[in-house]
């Protein structure tokens, strides 16, 4: 069932929140041993919460927008009383003393916290294989990756373990796994959703967003989590629309759409993926959307720009994991505090995280700053300007999300650059800070393909409307669980 249907059924008293939660746990016990999308399951707490909501409904009290809907949370978002490990060894024993703003908002609307989802360590990766604990698999084929870094969220939703999940997106970490798992994922405009309580990877790029099986569901979740938060100075004081209520209000004839050549015609993009996307573009065109093509040449620099900026910020953001105040400390016999730092971080952080910390530290070093970090920031500005110009003409831009369908576990693990290329189509919107959504629009080799729908700043409402009208034509994928070939 869709989250919006669950909500309706619960408020109509056709089903109890407790039953909904229990059905999730039934599904989890059925598939979780193979999917491995959760790092922590809050079973007792979730059932307790569901009972409270049932009581609320029985007594006729008003209920929140998410009443009785189970939601899981990526493990780099702080949840009071549950572990928040970021899938890192260094935070294995860390329990946050506070809730992220988004978590508080979900609780305030009576959403039920089901548990914490696996991800790449500190959200660095595109396959969830960089988790310290274990890789998550793709429910379409468990020998394949779910994408990443929000792979746990994506596979939990796709397999029907949970109707909604919160992911985070720095360079594509919501959209790419959504595409690979055949679900809907939205990276909101930078500043649309509070980052307070999101464990920072790259502060100027990180954004929390909803992941669900259909557009209606993520519209509802976005409506709940969006908005200005005084605790996050980068959150925007811009009105939050009632996204879930205005999905049908669209007139395709009035909307100008463009395909971004650089996000569709690159040679790295699989032909089969291109075919599925062109097919969906045809559907849009049949619906009445005017579709053109546009070239944004500076997007070609997205990959180096992204890896310089995100790694530079990460090198500073991750400095706090030093074993002094929390997390796992590894002392050195007869060593001083600096020996302890080195040992703690050597043992506590995984290879991809270390690679990026080193890259970022180098990029910020005296004598290199101008050539790397500053140059990258300048090109980032050019990319923003290029998008700005495109939005003068078009309201919606389209492209692929992932250049390939889900790849095999282990396939790209030894080749970081190959892995980085998985995000080639999602990086530009991250660098520009604009909203982008991945909508499943078909299958290639029996694996899902997502279409990327990109909009102007704070135009989430339009993105969701376009996705919704297209989804009505294509349909919503039902939960899957294939043990593979």
């Amino acid at each position: 069932m869709k989250a919006v249907e669950i909500k309706q059924a619960i408020s109509d008293r056709k089903v109890k929140a407790e039953e909904v939660v229990c059905s999730c746990f039934d599904r989890i016990s059925e598939v979780e041993s193979k999917i491995k999308s959760f790092l922590y399951i809050a079973k007792e707490k979730a059932i307790e919460q569901a009972k409270e909501i049932d009581k609320k409904i029985a007594s006729g009290r008003s209920i929140g927008k998410l009443a009785g809907i189970p939601v899981s949370i990526k493990d780099n978002i702080c949840t009071e009383g549950m572990p928040t490990t970021c899938a890192s060894r260094i935070l294995t024993n860390f329990i946050s003393p506070y809730n992220a703003t988004v978590v508080d908002k979900i609780l305030a609307e009576d959403g039920i916290l089901l548990g914490k989802n696996n991800c790449d360590e500190f959200a660095m990766g595109s396959s969830t294989e960089n988790s310290f604990f274990f890789p998550t698999t793709n429910p379409w084929d468990i020998t394949r990756v779910p994408g990443g870094s929000s792979g746990g969220s994506a596979s939990a939703v796709a397999s029907g373990e949970v109707p909604l999940s919160l992911g985070t997106d720095t360079g594509g970490s919501i959209r790419q796994p959504a595409s690979l798992c055949g679900i809907v994922g939205l990276k909101p405009t930078y500043g649309r959703v509070s980052r307070f309580g999101l464990v920072a990877f790259a502060s100027s790029l990180d954004q929390i967003g909803p992941m669900g099986r259909c557009v209606e569901d993520i519209a509802l979740l976005l409506e709940v989590i969006a908005g200005k938060d005084w605790r996050d100075s980068t959150s925007a004081p811009i009105k939050v629309d009632e996204y879930s209520k205005e999905l049908s209000a669209i007139d395709p004839d009035s909307i100008k759409v463009a395909l971004i050549k650089e996000l569709l015609q690159e040679e790295g993009i699989e032909e089969g993926v291109k075919d599925v996307i062109y097919n969906s573009v045809k559907i849009l065109s049949d619906l009445g959307f005017k579709i053109e093509e546009v070239s944004l040449p500076h997007l070609a620099y997205s990959l180096p720009v992204y890896y310089l900026i995100s790694s530079a910020e990460a090198s500073s953001n991750l400095a706090r994991y030093d074993g002094v105040r929390y997390g796992e400390r590894k002392e050195v016999k007869d060593g001083n505090v600096f020996d302890m730092y080195i040992n703690t971080r050597t043992i506590g952080l995984g290879p991809e995280v270390k690679r990026r910390i080193m890259l970022g530290t180098f990029a910020l070093s005296a004598g290199y700053y101008d050539a790397y970090y500053l140059k990258a920031q300048k090109v980032r500005t050019l990319i923003k300007q290029e998008f700005r110009k495109a939005f003068d003409k078009y309201q919606i831009l389209l492209g692929a999300v992932s250049p390939t369908v889900a790849f095999k576990l282990g396939e790209k693990l030894d080749n970081p650059v190959q892995m980085y290329l998985s995000d080639i189509c999602t990086l530009p919107a991250s660098l520009a800070g604009i909203p982008a959504l991945s909508l499943p629009v078909g299958l290639y080799n029996c694996l899902p393909v997502g279409l990327q729908i990109i909009g102007d700043y704070f135009c989430e409402s339009l993105l969701l409307k376009v996705a919704y009208i297209l989804e009505k034509e294509i349909g919503v994928f039902t939960p899957v669980f294939n043990e593979g070939k």
């Binding site: 309580g197 605790r231 500073s316 030093d322 105040r325 600096f338 730092y341 070093s365």
Partner: protein, 483 residues
């Protein structure tokens, strides 16, 4: 060490001042000094995963106040940056500071050396940053088995004020620090207690003789203004003799040892940190409007240099007294409040800097901590003026007035101290004294008028000091004249 050749000294100071805001720079934790270790902390100032900073507007305001008082320009665009380095007292292992766009720049402070004209010390920049926590080692830092960390201080707003290399002697450095402290205290933005660490100072010094100049030496670990002066004087002569002896000096950092009164080598240039500054992505740039600056300007109280001028010009006080009153703002304020009831600044000043200061020092306290009110002091001065009591009597009353706050009238009544101004009863006493001291009387009559003082003393003794001296003299002269 006495140096013969003429040398020039160049000094620049970097002062850190903890702002007296109610809450920390980027979170809501209280800033009170002396709380139980780690009690004034929260996820934000402890650098827990997922937290974000929020700028304390009060701290920004305080910086702007200070900047205006130091004649600085206020940046219309400013931003925060991260200064990255690992240290256990720094929760995030980076400090949020300001690098290339400080909030204020290009100002000056005028010092008044004892000899010579006023001198301008340029202020290069003032910026805002957060303080670190405090490490407590067991014994020596390199032998300590473990270190305790107190994060109460972590995140307290700090001003960093950097001077131009305009200071040319250790004495000028002292004057600068003292004047700066006065200004900051007048603004009420910090208490500037070096011993509590709310004001810290690092110094850079170099000397030159002829065309030869030493590299810049940084001196740290001074815990009082006097220590800064001493450390710089030590360093000055050390560098001068090194230059004279043709020694090779490398740029380096030295630490001041208070007990031994000397500086020692701390670290060389090669160990200078690469702080990898970059713009703080969690905070938007600061944009200060003209209106905000105007509003803050209006809230600035009278500053020490303005008060100094007024006390000398309007009150006719001496430079010396003025300096004391300006330095001790509380006494200055007390003087001004007393003036509302007793219009003679000079007399008030004498009492404040004389007996009252002596009593305060003896009891190791300050005027604001005591119960004496300006009205009570003014009443006493009025009573002296009206000759109800003598100055000498007042001196006996003032201690109880200061410590217990007892009104002067109550004390006078209680101790029956009212001056005897009744001529009849005074005449009686005077006649008695004359009778009892024929020798002295004879001496006076034979021209040794100095002996009169003795008789006056005897009269005062008999009246327990309560006789009005003027009246006593008058009657005594009259009586002696009639003999």
């Amino acid at each position: 060490m006495r140096v013969n050749k003429i040398f020039t000294t160049t000094i620049g100071l970097e002062v850190h001042i903890e702002l007296r805001t109610e809450s920390k720079m980027f979170c809501n934790c209280p800033t009170a000094f002396g709380a139980e270790p780690n009690s004034n902390t929260c996820p934000v100032c402890l650098g827990l995963p997922g937290v974000l900073p929020v700028i304390n507007k009060k701290a920004v305001e305080m910086l702007i106040k200070t900047a205006i008082a130091l004649n600085c320009k206020i940046a219309d665009y400013s931003k925060f940056d991260r200064k990255n380095y690992f240290y256990p007292d720094m929760p995030k292992n980076y400090q949020i500071s300001q690098y290339d766009f400080p909030l204020a720049y290009s100002g000056f402070l005028e010092i008044e050396p004892e000899e010579g004209p006023k001198k301008r010390i340029g202020i290069i920049r003032i910026h805002l940053e957060e303080d670190t926590g405090k490490s407590i080692h067991t014994g020596d830092i390199d032998k300590s088995l473990y270190t305790l960390e107190d994060f109460n201080r972590a995140g307290i707003p700090l001003l960093e004020i950097v001077t131009a290399p305009d200071i040319s002697s250790p004495g000028e450095a002292y004057l600068y620090l003292n004047d700066l402290k006065n200004i900051i205290q007048y603004l009420g933005v910090s208490d500037c207690k070096m011993e509590e660490g709310s004001l810290r100072c690092d110094a850079n010094i170099s000397v030159s003789i002829g065309g030869k100049q030493t590299p810049k030496i940084e001196v740290k670990n001074m815990n009082s203004f006097k220590a800064v002066e001493k450390a710089l004087a030590y360093e000055e002569s050390r560098l001068v003799s090194a230059l004279e002896n043709g020694e090779q000096i490398e740029q380096h950092t030295r630490g001041w040892l208070e007990k031994e009164e000397k500086t020692i080598f701390m670290r060389g240039k090669e160990f200078a940190h690469d702080y990898r500054y970059f713009p703080e992505p969690d905070l938007p740039p600061l944009v200060i409007t003209k209106e905000e600056i105007e509003k803050i300007k209006k809230s600035i109280p009278e500053l020490p240099y303005q008060r100094r001028e007024r006390y000398i010009k309007d009150f006719g006080l001496s430079h010396y007294d003025t300096a004391l009153l300006v330095e001790n703002k509380e006494l200055g304020d007390f003087l001004e409040q007393t003036l509302k009831f007793f219009n003679n600044p000079k007399k008030i000043c004498n009492w404040l800097l004389g007996d009252i200061s002596r009593i305060l020092n003896k009891n190791n306290t300050s005027i604001t901590q005591q119960l004496l009110t300006p009205a009570n002091l003014a009443m006493m001065l009025n009573l002296i003026e009206e000759e109800v009591i003598s100055g000498k009597m007042a001196k006996e009353l003032i201690e109880e007035m200061v410590i217990k706050g007892t009104p002067v009238e109550t004390l006078i009544k209680k101790q029956n101290l009212q001056q005897i101004k009744d001529e009849e009863s005074l005449k009686k006493v005077i006649t008695e004294v004359i009778k009892e001291n024929p020798d002295s009387v004879n001496k006076i009559l034979s021209g040794k008028t100095k002996v009169k003082g003795f008789l006056v003393g005897e009269i005062m003794k008999k009246t327990e000091g309560k006789a009005n001296p003027q009246l006593v003299n008058k009657i005594l002269d009259k009586t002696l004249g009639g003999l």
